[in-house]
Subunit: 212 residues, 2 copies
DNA sequence: GAGGGAATTCTACGCTTGATGAGTTCACCC
DNA sequence: GGGTGAACTCATCAAGCGTAGAATTCCCTC
């Protein structure tokens, strides 16, 4: 026993902030706390910039627990990027139904995802990390095509459907980065309704309008 | 003298790849080589991902020389981001003149910048580095407003000019990221002319058209 | 109430990073 | 042709990184 729990102080000075090892009573919520802290850090600094030590500290937890619960940093990253399927389905729903106003519904839903704390962290982390490294970029693409485009394709019609979706997506991505990631002055200050009003016609045209 | 240059081998084994210290004849081009390598690395991996040692090695130079010529990594980064003023002026020129086709000219010029090896490296480095961390994002903003928007502002008119420029810029940024950074399938495969044909009307509307 | 296993702690290894500082060689100018 | 300073190499530092494993404490089940 390195640090006596009893009254026998021995001669040495006992560290103050030393926590005792061992299991805690009940559900400590440690696993969830780690995931929250990880999302926050990955979102703020990207994969490389986020450090396990900082994540652990911010979760009020020993670094070893990350390994205990999630394995490697890679695995933790995977867990942090798990974005509830519900959100991608929201986007799919947005472009179904009345094609006349699909653009407006899509923009509105998209902005909501970026403003919803439940999804914004994962989106930020994905974007921040996807753009630096090729590996993350691949994952980004996979997610995009597997979930997003696959869900949306059926509603886009054949022929130039994917191209239309791609350019609409590129536009939306640019808006999100300018508004929520880099927070460029005018873009960040846009009134939500105004932004939708300005963009919706463009997205509408990219999805269903004449292009050439 | 640690490693005799003469014929006296002494008893010890002499390292093979050891270069002699000291100044080289003429202009060694070291300074420029470092900058080139730095641009390449920053563009490929962003600020955090690029390491001074790799940059030095790729420039065929000792790490110490980076400090000698540029000081800190931060200073080197600044030097690498130095994007020739000529390029921002190109964009400014593109939106002056005949307002009817400013959109098409702007898109065309913008794509050219991303495809020109002389400017694409700096652009990639800026985008890759700016998007990862909040700190880099701030620097990005400062640069954007100081140089870019300042150059363009005179041509944008008052009132909603900045807002129009911001949303057009966000669109263009999204296109560049999707096409040149992440290289999302359909966006990367777009025929250049087609891409311009599809986007130009949008940019034109954002710049000069009715919005509400 | 005994035992297995989960949760938690600490310590440490091997590696890479950016930053120094001291020392060496040589080009160039007076 | 001598002196100055720029160009260049090397060794090393202190930090931080991800990973690893041993040790400890305690819940839970039988």
């Amino acid at each position: 026993m390195r640090y006596p729990t009893g009254l026998l102080g021995s001669g040495t000075v006992e560290p103050e902030n030393r926590r005792t090892a061992g299991r805690r009573a009940g559900d400590s919520g440690t696993r969830a706390a780690i995931l929250d802290a990880a999302r926050e850090q990955f979102a703020a600094k990207g994969y490389d910039g986020a450090s396990l030590r900082v994540i652990a500290a911010s979760a009020g937890v020993d670094t070893g627990l990350i390994r205990h619960f999630y394995g490697s940093k890679d695995d933790l990253f995977d867990a942090a990027l798990e974005i509830p399927q519900e959100f991608t389905q929201q986007l799919a729903r947005a472009i179904t139904g009345d094609p006349e106003h699909a653009g407006a519904r899509l923009v509105e839903t998209y902005l909501s995802l970026w403003e919803n704390p439940a999804s914004s962290g994962a989106l930020l982390a994905i974007v921040r990390s996807a753009i630096v490294s090729d590996r993350a970029a691949d994952r980004f693409q996979a997610m995009l095509t597997a979930r997003f485009l696959a869900d949306l394709a059926p509603y886009l019609g054949g022929g130039d459907g994917p191209a239309r979706a791609a350019i609409a997506g590129a536009h939306l991505l640019g808006i999100a980065i300018a508004r929520y990631v880099v927070r460029i002055g005018p873009m960040a200050e846009f009134d939500r309704a105004t932004l939708i009003a300005w963009c919706a016609p463009t997205i509408q045209r990219y999805l269903t309008g004449p292009l050439d």
